[in-house]
């Protein structure tokens, strides 16, 4: 199946754009015929990445967030990039329950959710320059954590 597609979106780091961003990716991914759970996984992961850029990347300033998404066959890639603060210690940032801003009542689960809900997660960051999160998910393989479907079984 020759199924490729690509989109690039640029928006301001305002919190109301969290729902905008995840809704855009969900609509973009809809052509892949994902299950409701797969779509929810992608939406949650995108929401986490964009929220991170808004809260941690830009903090109290407003900057631009670039979101790219590519479809290749049954795999969707989503990149969320900011030119914000960057992450000093990526391993520390990715620890479950770790948050650099406990005063915001953040749960520290952002990266954990991205890892749990997507098949592949890469984080590139230069401290002081910005962060790029790249996530991939294969649609139709049903190996979603937290569910108990048989691997390889397609519902489409």
């Amino acid at each position: 199946m020759d199924n490729t597609n690509k989109m690039i979106l640029e928006f301001e780091s305002k919190s109301q754009n969290e729902s905008f961003a995840r809704t855009v990716v969900a609509a973009f991914a809809a052509t892949m015929d994902p299950t409701i759970e797969e779509l929810a996984d992608i939406k949650t992961a995108v929401s986490e990445a964009v929220t991170n850029s808004i809260i941690h990347g830009y903090g109290d300033c407003i900057g631009m967030i670039i979101m790219r998404s590519f479809i290749s066959g049954n795999e969707i890639t989503v990149e969320v990039e900011d030119s914000g603060a960057g992450i000093e210690d990526i391993n520390k940032a990715m620890e479950p329950l770790y948050t650099s801003r406990p005063e915001l009542e953040r749960s520290g689960m952002g990266f954990s959710f991205m890892e749990a809900f997507m098949d592949d997660l890469e984080v590139e960051s230069v401290f002081g320059q910005g962060t790029l999160v790249r996530m991939k998910k294969r649609i139709g393989k049903q190996a979603v954590k937290g569910y108990t479907q048989q691997p390889g079984q397609s519902v489409i």
Binding site: S15, S19, T44, E105, R106, S107, S112, F113, A116
Partner: protein, 128 residues
């Protein structure tokens, strides 16, 4: 949208459908009518905390019947409210969660500290 609205506190927000709040005895019912992300979490936290202090709230019920999406910000909202009521022996309950939200609760381990009910009414009966 809901059955049995008792002691309903009118919300000052006009026209805009958003999250609504209701005090029933010492329970605060938060009827989420929007996706529970970081953006909405900020407003919900502020409003809930004011109601908790003003009304001596002990238990909090989050009604998800109008909300089908939550991310880690929702975990922060619930854990933050949990810390507020746990000292006075209060409990946190969630009602009418769909499979998407349910999975977030399970993955995060939140069900260790909160209880899930089919409906707000069932939750109220258990908490009263």
């Amino acid at each position: 949208m809901q059955e049995g609205r008792r002691h309903n506190k009118p919300d000052k927000r006009s026209g805009k459908e958003g999250t609504s709040y209701e005090i029933s005895g010492r329970c605060l019912i938060i009827r989420l009518n929007e996706e529970l992300d970081h953006h909405n979490a900020i407003l919900i936290k502020d409003k809930a905390d004011r109601l908790i202090e003003r009304n001596h709230v002990k238990h909090i019920i989050f009604d998800f019947s109008g909300s089908g999406f939550m991310d880690s910000a929702g975990i922060g909202v619930i854990m933050g409210r949990y810390k507020k009521v746990i000292f006075i022996g209060g409990k946190i309950a969630v009602a009418s969660v769909n499979s998407v939200v349910d999975r977030i609760f399970r993955l995060s381990g939140l069900y260790k500290i909160i209880d899930k009910y089919d409906s707000v009414e069932t939750a109220l009966n258990h908490l009263k």
